[in-house]
C-alpha cells in the first residue's frame, strides 16, 4: 500500500466518521462542527484528485459561508443549542432503508457508466485547469447557459432576501 493510499483511507474514514457524528450527536453546535470536519475531509479528497480549485472552493463556500451561517442561526435560536433532544424519532428505520436504497441506486447507475473504474490519464503540466474551467464557464459551446441561469437564480434569491428583510416604513 502506497503512502497516498494510507492517507486516503485515513481521510475517508475521518470524513465518514464525522458525517456519522453529524446525525448522531445530541448537541446541535457539535453537529454543525462535525459537519465542518466532514466538509473539510471532502476538500482534502478534492485535493487528492488534483482538483485544488474545488478543494479550496469547498472550504470557502461550505465552511466559510454555509456552515458559519448554520452555527450563527443555531446560536441565535434560544435554548436550542443546550437542549438534549431525543437522538432518533420513530421514523429512523424507514429513513435508514430509503437512504440505503438511494445509495445503492446511485452506485448502480455510476457502475453502468462505460468509463467506470478506468483510470484517466494525468493532465499535462501545461494545462491550467483553473483557466480551462473559466473558459468553459463562459463559452457558448460549454456551460454558458447553465452558468448564466445559475447566476440569475442566485440574484433572484438575493433580491428576495433583501425584500423579506426590508423594514416596512
Amino acid at each position: 500500500m502506497s503512502f497516498e493510499q494510507v492517507v486516503f483511507i485515513l481521510v475517508a474514514a475521518g470524513t465518514l466518521g464525522a458525517a456519522l457524528l453529524v446525525v448522531t450527536t445530541r448537541n446541535l453546535i457539535h453537529a454543525a462542527l462535525w459537519l465542518i470536519a466532514a466538509l473539510f475531509g471532502v476538500a482534502i479528497l478534492f485535493v487528492f484528485l488534483n482538483a485544488g480549485f474545488f478543494g479550496v472552493v469547498q472550504i470557502v463556500i461550505y465552511i466559510g459561508a454555509i456552515a458559519i451561517l448554520m452555527i450563527f442561526a443555531i446560536m441565535l435560536t434560544r435554548q436550542i443549542s443546550s437542549e438534549k433532544s431525543a437522538r432518533f424519532n420513530k421514523n429512523w428505520l424507514w429513513a435508514f432503508f430509503i437512504s440505503i436504497i438511494f445509495f445503492a441506486g446511485i452506485a448502480y447507475i455510476l457502475s453502468l457508466w462505460p468509463e467506470f473504474g478506468t483510470t484517466k490519464p494525468i493532465l499535462s503540466a501545461e494545462i491550467d485547469p483553473v483557466k480551462q474551467l473559466g473558459v468553459a464557464l463562459v463559452s457558448p459551446q460549454a456551460y454558458l447557459l447553465a452558468f448564466e441561469l445559475a447566476s440569475v437564480l442566485l440574484l433572484a434569491a438575493l433580491i428576495g432576501a433583501v425584500i423579506i428583510a426590508w423594514e416596512q416604513r
Binding site: S2, F3, I29, H30, L33, I36, G52, F53, V56, V57, I59, V60, I63, G64, A65, A67, I68, I71, F72, M75, L76, S81, D128, P129, V130
Partner: protein
C-alpha cells in the same frame, strides 16, 4: 551562493539520497522540515512583534514603552511569554471543554497557514499553487470559525456577543476584500501569488490605488483592529470572544492577532507593492526576503498608525460603511478594471498603466464628490433643531397631552 536556502535544500536532498531513502519519504522529510522552518521563523518574528507593537503604541501616546528588560526593552516579550506560560490556566464552569481548548489553536493556525502561499523570494515559496488568492480567502473563513468557537464555548454572554459581532463584521468585510483581491488577479491573469508578483513590473498600487485602499481598509476590519475593534470593545463587551481565556491560550489569540496584522502587511505588499521585488533581487534572490519583510513592516506600521490615531466607530456605521460604501465601490472598481483590461490589450504597457491610473484618479475624485454631497446633507440634518429640544415643535406634535402633563406636574409641585 546567491540562493542559500535552495542550496541547503538541494544539499540535504543529496545526503538523504546518499543514505538510500525512497523518494517518497525523502520528499516527506524535506516538506516537514520546510514547514517547521517557515512556522518557527514566522513565530519568532511574532515574539518580536509584541515588543514592536508596545514600543510604537507608547510613542504614539507619548510614553516610552518597555525599557527595563534588556537594551531598549528587547527582552520584554520573552518575559511576557514566560509569564503567560506559568499563569494559571482556567476553564470556566459550563464551558465546552474540547471546543474551548481547540479554538485558540485554530485561530493561530489559520493565520500561520497563509504563509504557505506567500512567496519569499523568486525561488522560495512554501506551496506554489495556482489558486493562491482563493486559498487565502478560504483560510480567512477558518479564522472566523475559531472566533465563533471560542465565543460560544466559553459559556459567557460577553464572549457570545463578541462572536456575534465577529460574524457580522468579518463576514461582511470579506466581500469588498475578495472583490479587491480579484483586481490584481485580472492584471496578472492568474490566481497564483508568485504569478501575481512576477507580473508586477510596475507595482499594482500605481495602476489600482482604489483596490489597494479597499483591500487595506477591509483587511483592518478583518483583523478587528481599531477603528473596527468592535469584536473586543472593552467599554461595551469587556474583551469579546477571548474574555474567559487566560495564560497561554489567551497568548495564542494575542499572537494570532499580531501575526495576522503582519500577514496582512505581507499579503498587501505581495499583491500591490511588488512582494519580493527590489533592486538586485534577480541576481541575489535571498534579498527578496528582506524586501518582502521591509514592505510588510511598512504596511504593519501603517495599520498601527491608523489603530492608534482613530477612535472606534459605531456598529451601525461600521455596517453602513461596508454595505453602502466599500462594497459598491469595490464592485465599480472591479467592473471598470475588467472592461478596461479587455479594451487595452493591444496597447503598450506604459499606455495601459497611464490609462488605468487616470481612470482610478477619476474614480477617487467621483467618490470624494459623492461623499461631499452626502456629508453636507448629513450636516444639515444634524444641524437642525431636534423636535424634542424645541418646545413649540413638541406642543404642535403632541398638543394637549404635553400641556396637560405640564399642568399636572406643575400642580404637584
Amino acid at each position: 551562493m546567491t540562493d542559500p536556502i535552495t542550496w541547503i535544500a538541494n544539499w540535504l536532498e543529496t545526503i538523504l539520497e546518499g543514505i538510500g531513502l525512497p523518494v517518497g519519504i525523502m520528499v516527506l522529510i524535506l516538506t516537514v522540515l520546510g514547514v517547521l522552518i517557515v512556522v518557527i521563523f514566522v513565530l519568532a518574528i511574532d515574539i518580536f512583534l509584541v515588543w514592536m507593537e508596545r514600543k510604537v503604541v507608547a510613542r504614539f501616546q507619548d510614553r516610552l514603552g518597555p525599557n527595563r528588560v534588556g537594551p531598549y526593552g528587547l527582552i520584554q516579550p520573552i518575559a511576557d511569554v514566560i509569564k503567560l506560560i506559568i499563569k494559571e490556566d482556567t476553564t470556566p464552569k459550563g464551558a465546552d471543554v474540547l471546543i474551548y481548548n481547540i479554538a485558540p489553536v485554530i485561530a493561530l493556525a489559520s493565520v500561520l497557514i497563509i504563509w504557505a502561499v506567500i512567496p519569499f523570494t523568486p525561488t522560495l515559496v512554501g506551496a506554489e499553487v495556482n489558486i493562491g488568492v482563493l486559498f487565502i480567502v478560504a483560510f480567512g473563513g477558518i479564522g472566523t470559525l475559531a472566533i465563533i468557537m471560542a465565543g460560544w464555548s466559553s459559556n459567557n454572554k460577553y464572549a457570545l456577543l463578541g462572536a456575534f459581532r465577529t460574524v457580522a463584521q468579518v463576514i461582511s468585510y470579506e466581500i469588498p476584500m475578495v472583490i479587491a483581491l480579484l483586481i490584481p488577479v485580472i492584471f496578472a491573469g492568474t490566481m497564483s501569488i508568485q504569478g501575481i508578483v512576477n507580473s508586477q513590473e510596475l507595482w499594482n498600487i500605481v495602476i489600482a490605488p482604489v483596490a489597494a485602499a479597499i483591500l487595506l481598509v477591509s483587511s483592518i476590519a478583518e483583523i478587528g483592529r481599531t477603528p473596527f475593534d468592535l469584536l473586543e470593545a472593552e467599554s461595551e463587551i469587556v474583551a469579546g470572544f477571548h474574555i474567559e481565556y487566560s495564560g497561554m491560550k489567551f497568548g495564542l489569540f494575542y499572537a494570532g492577532e499580531l501575526l495576522h496584522a503582519l500577514t496582512i502587511g505581507a499579503l498587501f505588499s505581495t499583491l500591490f507593492l511588488g512582494g519580493w521585488r527590489g533592486p538586485f533581487v534577480e541576481q541575489i534572490p535571498v534579498l527578496g526576503i528582506f524586501y518582502l519583510f521591509g514592505k510588510a513592516f511598512l504596511v504593519y506600521f501603517l495599520i498601527m498608525w491608523i489603530r492608534y490615531s482613530l477612535p472606534r466607530i459605531r456598529i451601525d456605521h461600521m455596517l453602513n460603511f461596508n454595505w453602502k460604501f466599500l462594497t459598491p465601490l469595490a464592485l465599480i472598481a472591479l467592473m471598470v478594471t475588467a472592461i478596461l483590461d479587455k479594451l487595452l490589450t493591444d496597447f503598450s504597457n506604459i499606455t495601459y498603466a497611464v490609462i488605468m491610473l487616470v481612470v482610478n484618479l477619476v474614480l477617487i475624485w467621483a467618490v470624494i464628490m459623492v461623499l461631499r454631497i452626502y456629508a453636507s446633507g448629513e450636516r444639515k440634518k444634524v444641524g437642525e433643531l431636534k423636535p424634542t429640544a424645541n418646545a413649540d415643535a413638541v406642543l404642535s406634535t403632541f398638543g394637549k397631552d404635553v400641556s396637560s402633563a405640564q399642568e399636572t406636574s406643575g400642580a404637584s409641585t
